[in-house]
């Protein structure tokens, strides 16, 4: 075939037209805002300053969710998971600095921190799961995982800002494990096992709105002043007294990633406790805005396809004639 300037220009024009057509029909979709929390959402309030690191929650979680002890030492004597994993849904981790003697102090201190699903208001895992195996309950806001749906692509693991979903890499038929806020216990009228057994009320269950108020109440009390702390459920009569700690004046999870349903209080800055500073706009909302911008009602791809069809038909014909 002879190369002709005319042909080329025609093709180029047609191609550009198709692309332009696609671009023009792409109405700039409105930005997808952060999702909002269901009014009856439930969650946990974890207060590092009253946690004594006893790991009762870890043990109770094992019982409630039928997970098995995990060993991190060679002797395999103790159940001591180093982190949440395919075998462990929650762990208490330790912050230690310098001499590590003073509780809830950043310098020369130590502190405990719970690791489990934060149940984001606008969870990345739900947004990115290709097969809807991750879901957010419209009433309770619990982020659950359904193994029967899961294909094991692990995109949720890659996308979760808190490294929560955990995969069983050591199994031929693996599952994904994450905290589901003991929804099976809640269905029986019980509360999550970790909150149920916590001896100090460091892990407290309740409606997120009430948990937020409780967190604000604690933050408002000056350090050293006696304060009362409920156990099990926020507002329960089972309270104990304890001098208020010097809190970092922020409840983690009130703004991060558009909010989470597990709130954290701490005496040591959260960045040092494994919870990075995160902006308010959720990654899910941003990614979805971009995808939606491109694929809004599939108008752009369809328009582009129509243009491509037209141009390709014309040009294949030309080639055939010339051949």
């Amino acid at each position: 075939m002879a190369f002709s300037r005319r042909n080329f220009l025609k093709g180029a024009a047609a191609g550009s037209a198709a692309a332009a057509c696609a671009a023009a029909t792409t109405t700039p979709a409105e930005a997808r805002e952060n999702l909002t929390m269901p009014p009856k959402a439930v969650g946990l309030l974890y207060d590092s300053t009253i946690c004594v690191g006893c790991k009762a929650c870890v043990v109770a979680c094992r019982d409630a969710n039928d997970t098995h002890p995990e060993f991190s030492t060679e002797e395999k004597l103790w159940d001591n998971p180093l982190d949440i994993s395919g075998k462990t849904i929650t762990v208490i981790k330790m912050y230690s600095e310098g001499t590590g003697q003073h509780k809830d102090q950043e310098k020369d201190g130590f502190a405990f921190m719970k690791r489990s699903c934060l149940h984001c208001v606008d969870p990345s895992c739900v947004s990115v799961c290709p097969v809807t195996a991750m879901t957010k309950d419209p009433v309770t806001g619990i982020v659950s995982h359904e193994p029967a749906d899961c294909i094991g692509c692990r995109y949720c693991i890659v996308a979760c800002p808190f490294a929560v979903p955990q995969f069983e890499f050591d199994k031929a038929f693996p599952k994904l494990l994450k905290c589901q806020l003991c929804k099976h216990r809640q269905a029986e009228g019980k509360i999550p096992a970790c909150a149920e057994v916590c001896p100090t009320g460091a892990t407290l269950f309740g409606p997120v709105t009430a948990l937020k108020e409780e967190a604000d109440r604690r933050l408002a009390v000056p350090a050293g002043k006696p304060n009362t702390f409920a156990r099990k459920t926020v507002g329960s009569p089972d309270v104990h007294e304890h001098p208020n700690a010097a809190y970092v004046q922020h409840a983690y999870g009130t703004t991060e990633m558009g909010g989470t349903q597990m709130l954290l209080l701490s005496g040591v800055p959260f960045e040092k406790m494994g919870y990075p500073k995160l902006r308010e706009r959720s990654y899910a909302s941003e990614a979805e805005t971009i995808q939606e911008g491109i694929y809004h009602d599939l108008i752009a791809p369809v328009a582009l396809f129509a243009g491509l069809l037209y141009v390709a038909r014309k040009n294949t014909k030309n080639h055939d004639e010339e051949e």
Partner: protein, 397 residues
């Protein structure tokens, strides 16, 4: 111009034997993975959900396999019929690249027996970029073979069928131009939800634009790369004049990519990070040098027709695109305290897929009319021996 014809010749050569052995090793390792789980073969962890297989087999290998897409755009959309001889070799390479990428995903997903959930409305989650990518790649794998169907038909089917296939070819061609546009951009978007986990030098809302433009560049580069390789290996006439023209396209696209990349960094105020990010700076600068090198090499017409420089520019571009993807998925991605480096098993499996791809390509060009037929070696087995098997292995490194 001459018609494409099968290369013919013996199937047992040094290259085919070595690639076959590598393929068998891969098969054994994959069997091991199926029996003992992902952890037994890979170093995948809950800190690095994506490993070498996703980074290479999906991100890099499909970008390498963009030759068919890039050439189809050039020939059928921009109506540059002169490049027609390059389409079929590019298509077959793409078909192998994508199919094997798709196949490797089946071994990478932990719960492969559920994989069909991806394509059913009851499960599909349209907000998921992974869903879009998976569907798109699956569809494109099929489209590629349909696009390639005329070549198979020419060998086996009656002329009538060939005629019909050729008449309706514009449909798979159009789809074949649409789908990679979608999923190559979405492969970039795939990392947007990871937010801070990807180093700010790479994380950007323009990831889809950068991923797509670099993928098209890689598509043209692989055409040059394979063109050089085939010319040399099968002792065929030089296609430098054609390849040289394509290289101008690469330059243009590359400049576009670099403007977007650096403009985006400047706009976001991240330019300071370029030099202050430790190992990330190293990879960022290395990656950008590899991107800039082809632009410099391909600046003059003289250089563009020099097969050596052309080849180096193409390789540099391919390495740049590959490193960009590797950075995005593995090197710039990370969580505090977590480590990842592919295990020997993981590497060997990836090498096995590459070997299978090369093996398939060789079989195909020998069996089907892929390469244009005006060369002296046609029909003479002695001339179809590859010069250096390892040269073929470089296809994907």
């Amino acid at each position: 111009m001459s018609k494409a014809a099968p290369l013919g010749g013996s199937y047992i050569t040094k290259t085919t034997v070595i690639t076959a052995i590598l393929t068998v090793i891969m098969g054994a390792l994959l069997l091991y993975r199926l029996v003992f789980g992902l952890g037994a073969v890979t170093n995948l962890s809950n800190g690095y959900g994506f490993g070498l297989w996703i980074a290479y087999d999906v991100f890099i290998s499909t970008a390498f396999a963009c030759g068919g897409y890039s050439m189809a755009i050039l020939v059928y959309i921009f109506n540059r019929g002169e490049y027609h001889p390059l389409v079929r070799p590019a298509l077959i390479a793409s078909a192998f690249g994508y199919s094997l990428g798709g196949m490797s995903i089946m071994f990478d997903v932990g719960r492969y027996w559920n994989a069909w959930h991806l394509f059913l409305p009851g499960w599909a989650n349209p907000t998921s970029i992974m869903f879009e990518v998976a569907c798109c790649i699956a569809a494109y794998c099929m489209v590629l073979w349909v696009e390639f169907a005329p070549a198979i038909a020419e060998r086996f089917a009656p002329p009538k069928v060939v005629a019909i296939l050729k008449k309706t070819a514009f449909i798979p061609i159009a789809i074949g131009c649409l789908l990679p546009t979608m999923h190559q951009s979405s492969l970039g978007s795939l990392l947007i939800p990871a937010g801070y986990l990807v180093h700010p030098l790479w994380q950007s809302n323009l990831l889809p634009v950068m991923a797509l433009s670099s993928a098209i560049c890689m598509g043209y580069s692989i055409v040059i790369f394979e063109g050089s390789l085939v010319t040399e290996a099968y002792n065929r006439p030089s296609e430098a004049h054609m390849l040289g023209k394509i290289s101008r396209l690469i330059s243009g696209l590359l400049i576009f990519y670099l403007v977007v990349r650096w403009g985006n960094l400047a706009y976001a105020g991240k330019l300071g990070l370029v030099l202050t990010s430790g190992k990330y700076s190293f990879f960022f600068i290395l990656e950008n040098l590899l991107f800039v090198l082809p632009v410099i090499l391909l600046a003059t017409q003289k250089n563009r027709v020099n097969p050596q420089l052309l080849f180096i520019a193409a390789v540099s571009m391919l390495l740049a695109g590959a490193l960009y993807r590797l950075d995005l998925v593995l090197i710039a991605y990370g969580r505090e305290g977590w480590h990842y480096f592919p295990s020997v098993g993981e590497i060997l499996i990836t090498v096995g897929f590459v070997a299978l791809e090369i093996l398939g390509y060789i079989v195909c060009v020998k069996l089907f009319p892929v390469l244009s037929s005006h060369h002296p070696a046609h029909g003479k087995g002695s001339h179809t021996v590859l010069r250096a098997p390892s040269a073929a292995a470089t296809t994907n490194e």
